[in-house]
Symmetry: C2
Subunit: 217 residues, 2 copies
DNA sequence: GCTGTCCAGATTGTCGACATTATTGACGAT
DNA sequence: ATCGTCAATAATGTCGACAATCTGGACAGC
């Protein structure tokens, strides 16, 4: 059990603490067996990181990521990951390519089984291999921070009919470009892929609004 | 004046506190007339923001941005600003265009006068007008954070002979694309511009290494 | 019934004191 | 002379207490 920062972060990202839920310092301190001082420091960090909002004299809440902001996060992610894909094309090792190849194989298996949450996890790991190959700590820092903010929307995109099949083909295209060490191709394939993800996310948000009537009548 | 966070931030960004300089909580607290508690909170925020490094039991230092990291920051900036330029192309108002036009005129005047630091300031404002037009809070947050980290290298790029003239032409191209509401053109013009900036930054770093011999012999 | 005021409880903000941990320099052994 | 040990010092980490502030509900006036 790490320090309050990591415990809280994990609790938020994993969804144990819900958006807009109030975070009372003394309650958290007792809950995780730490002093209020440490909890305060953790809340400040999480505020700066964007996972929590801190209002003076009014305490902390789990930050609610709006639909619009989720789309913005995905746009930034697209811009950065396209750049990283380009860099990865010239830097990736044969070991990295082997990993990606294996990843794609396993993703294909998940698609055949219709296991979309298993697919999503492999999906995330596929992208992380590329991040590592790109060797760009600055972009990595930003991306992992953004990822934790957008986590709430992570699995919604897999719900669209036929999405996983297309997603798999997009990943195959990315892999092919990286294997060929084709900078332009890798960037373009990644950009196309994330444009699709973005569109799917928009679709998920729209259909959510269509479905969930909050005042039935 | 402001709270310890803003005071410290300003002191770091403006260069009053130097890279690797040690930040002793009690000293700062007395210096700016605040309690140690508030200073601690400020240091935690600045650490998360990347302006300060915080090591457990070893205190805080002004974070030293390496040459490599400065280049990485500029790459990220290029990726994000290209995206923002594209968005701005369809969103910018006639008022925004008027501002940019005026900005370009004044930049031209500075070039004619050989006033490269005045040029740099207008340059920064030119870009900020585009950020505002793009209406993308998430990217804005990241960019302004990156900007404060890279501030130390801000003025070095203007030292390259003939750079300001070329830079001016690049800004004119960006303006023209925005005025025409040409998404692809704006993104491409911004991308080209920042690629040039990146190359110039690399040049500045190289020439610094050539010039500054730290052990004269 | 509605609105505004005021009080009680809860929560955050700040301070001072003390425990814990690194750093520095002296000192002695080899 | 060099290295390791150890104490003195400085700085950070943590806690408890109290002050400042916000929140929600009771209550009076209209």
């Amino acid at each position: 059990m790490g320090d309050p920062y990591h415990r809280l972060r994990e609790a938020i990202v994993s969804g144990q603490l819900h958006p807009n839920e109030r975070l009372v310092e003394s309650a958290i301190a007792e809950r995780i067996g730490a002093g209020r001082t440490a909890v305060r420091a953790a809340l400040v960090r999480l505020d700066q990181e964007g996972l929590v909002t801190l209002e003076r004299n009014r305490g902390a809440r789990v930050r609610h990521i709006s639909d619009r902001e989720a789309l913005e996060i995905e746009q930034v992610r697209a811009a950065l990951e396209s750049m990283l894909a380009r860099r990865a094309a010239t830097r990736i090792t044969s070991e990295g390519l082997r990993e990606l190849h294996e990843m794609v194989d396993r993703m294909r298996a998940r698609v055949d089984e219709g296991d979309s949450i298993g697919y999503s996890e492999l999906n995330a790991r596929f992208h992380q291999v590329i991040w590592a190959a790109a060797d760009h700590p600055t972009a990595n820092r930003l991306l992992s921070s953004l990822k934790s903010q957008g986590i709430r929307f992570q699995y919604q995109t897999a719900l669209r009919p036929g999405r996983t099949q297309r997603s798999l083909r997009e990943h195959e295209a990315i892999f092919a470009a990286l294997k060929a060490h084709d900078e332009d191709g890798a960037e373009a394939a990644m950009r196309d892929h994330l444009a699709e993800v973005l569109e799917t996310l928009q679709w998920a948000i729209d259909s959510q609004h269509r479905t969930a009537r909050w005042l039935p009548g």
